[in-house]
């Protein structure tokens, strides 16, 4: 049966950019590819484009399926489609895999044209600002002068926020969901443990594992397991697993005893089999480095004085990795600048992952906001 609220079968596309991109680190990427998907149609005056920015492990595959029997639709399929909160009957929605990614855009596993080998450790460290620059070139490529909205959760929300600072004339609305104006020390600490797990894996080979025919699976797996703990709330884990045993009785062993362990190992294994370790390092660093207030002596209100967009800021009460207090900091800075802002603090049990969940009220808020976007 065809799901009329699905964008249906989608096909990724690739755009090649031969103009060098100067990165914030000082490095220059001579040329690069961006892989992207689009849903809906760009209108005649090209005013209905919406950019969806992905988070740490996301991709350009935001909505739809690759085949009729594809069991895994895009990562935000519940949010995007005909009649959905981000309604593809009205909006031309773009999903793009960021630079440094491992799903088709130029990244550490791509071939470095200068050497003919994979970039590996030589691939530069990329930042949220760099991604926004690259996304703007994709917008140019697609003929989009100004976005009706840029939308993202978590690290994606940081990109939406950065868009309002880098290109205030090219974004009319920013939807900043479950995000933060920078990471706290505790939040960066989780990233550091994840990176250490990867870097100290003997099969990492300093980032040049491709030539050795190995993958630092153990490191990636532990990094992902740690991440998953922080994306869920204590209550959500309790409700999902509690102290449920894997077997009928305890085994007095270090194999899987509790259901929670089974879940974490499964998630870790799955991720280690499909994600690139070098990409993981760079994504977490992009999170760490994002701090628009830094150039303004830590004053976020000054940092946002350049922005002109209208904002919807959303946070979730049980999200402890990107807490409501961090979203309120963004809201305060927007208020200080007298910008148009709506802030919804949603009661949710799922922790940080709530931003991906199909909660009715959450979707109603996004839908209502998008319905008033011109």
């Amino acid at each position: 049966m065809t799901d009329i609220s699905s964008v249906g079968i989608v096909t990724p596309q690739t755009a090649h950019f031969s103009e060098p991109l100067a990165l914030k680190s000082g490095a220059v990427l001579p040329a690069y590819d961006l892989v992207y998907e689009t849903y809906g149609a760009l209108n005649a005056d090209k005013s209905n484009a919406v950019l969806v920015c992905h988070a740490l492990s996301g991709t350009h595959h935001v909505a739809g399926k690759y085949s009729e029997d594809d069991k895994h639709p895009g990562w935000w399929d519940n949010m995007i489609g005909p009649g959905k909160p981000l309604d593809t009957n009205r909006f031309f929605v773009i999903g793009v895999n960021n630079l440094g990614g491992c799903h088709g855009s130029t990244g550490p596993a791509s071939i470095n044209p200068a050497t003919g080998k994979r970039w590996g450790s030589a691939f530069p460290v990329v930042t949220v600002e760099d991604w926004v620059q690259a996304q703007a070139r994709l917008a140019d490529h697609l003929g989009v002068k100004s976005f009706a909205a840029v939308v993202g959760g978590s690290l994606g929300g940081m990109q939406a926020l950065q868009w309002t600072l880098t290109f205030p004339d090219r974004i009319r609305n920013a939807l900043v969901i479950a995000s933060a104006p920078n990471l706290t020390a505790q939040n960066m600490a989780f990233n550091e443990v994840a990176r250490q797990a990867i870097i100290t894996d003997p099969e990492f080979h300093g980032g040049d594992f491709y030539g050795h025919g190995v993958v630092p699976r153990r490191g990636l797996r532990i990094a992902r397991m740690l991440g998953h703990i922080t994306y869920l709330s204590d209550d959500a884990m309790g409700a999902k697993f509690g102290r449920k045993l894997k077997h009928d009785e305890v085994q007095y062993s270090f194999d899987v005893e509790f259901e929670m362990e089974s879940y974490l190992r499964y998630q870790g294994d799955k991720f280690a089999g499909e994600f690139d370790a070098n990409t993981y390092l760079r994504m977490t660093r992009a999170l760490d480095y994002f701090d628009p207030a830094a150039e303004y002596g830590g004053d976020l209100s000054s940092a946002l004085s350049n922005a002109t967009a209208d904002f919807l800021v959303v946070s979730f009460t049980s999200d402890w990795r990107f807490s409501t207090a961090r979203s309120r900091e963004i809201v305060k800075a927007l208020l200080d600048n007298e910008l148009s802002v709506t802030y919804a603090e949603l009661t949710a049990a799922h922790g940080h992952d709530a931003f991906l969940m199909p909660d009715q009220h959450y979707h109603d808020i996004v839908r209502a906001y998008m319905e008033n976007v011109e």
Partner: protein, 211 residues
């Protein structure tokens, strides 16, 4: 700018016809003022003030359904609990802070009034007068808690935790040296000058520097 749906404009003017304090509040607001409405409900007052006086405004609201209604109505709303104070707002960052028929439903009455005066150059507070003669009559002759258009709830389901009379609120302001710049008492849209605490249904107070 975000689009405001046509039906929202109609809703704002209907609400103003229904809520007599809207038009009275509007008389105290300068066109183009920056306004903060605490406990803004579905944003009807802000919408009305925007449509009639071109104010720039934000609402504060804790209830999910009301926040959603504000978003639908194209009103900027900040979801938070007033009882926690207004720490997210800078001192003197608004021309006017309004608390419209919400005073009686807050626990931290004193804190909120002081916060309004910190954040706003001016503040407006309106509340149903518990001393209104019809309320007194219900209590005196029927022996029951008053129920009226301004106090529509029963004693067991009312959100009102701090009902007061005009005389009570006058004393509250006097004891805290909160300067009242104007007071207006209305019943069914008419201004009451004589025996306001007895004949007035709705009390409106204006604080802070005028003009």
């Amino acid at each position: 700018m975000t689009h405001v749906p046509a039906q929202a404009h109609a809703h704002f003017s209907e609400a103003a016809a229904e809520r007599r304090d809207f038009t009275a509040i509007a008389q105290w607001i300068t066109p183009g003022a920056k306004v903060l409405d605490l406990g803004c409900g579905d944003g009807a007052l802000l919408g009305y003030l925007r449509d009639t006086l071109n104010v720039r405004g934000y609402g504060v609201e804790k209830d999910d359904a009301n926040v959603l209604a504000c978003v639908k109505n194209g009103i900027n709303v900040i979801q938070m609990n007033l009882e926690e104070g207004l720490s997210g707002f800078e001192a003197d960052s608004f021309d006017v802070v309004i608390l419209s028929q919400t005073l009686q439903a807050v626990y931290q009455t004193e804190r909120i009034v002081l916060e309004m005066l910190r954040v706003g150059k001016e503040a407006i507070v309106t509340f149903p007068n518990f001393g209104y003669w019809k309320h007194r009559l219900q209590l005196f002759s029927g022996g029951r808690m008053p129920v009226s258009r301004t106090l529509p709830h029963q004693w067991y389901n009312t959100p009102n935790v701090h009902l007061c009379t005009i005389a009570d609120f006058d004393a509250f302001c006097r004891e805290r040296n909160i300067p009242v710049s104007e007071r207006l008492v209305i019943t069914e849209g008419k201004t009451i000058h004589l025996f306001p605490n007895l004949l007035g249904n709705l009390a409106m107070y204006r604080f802070g520097q005028v003009g």
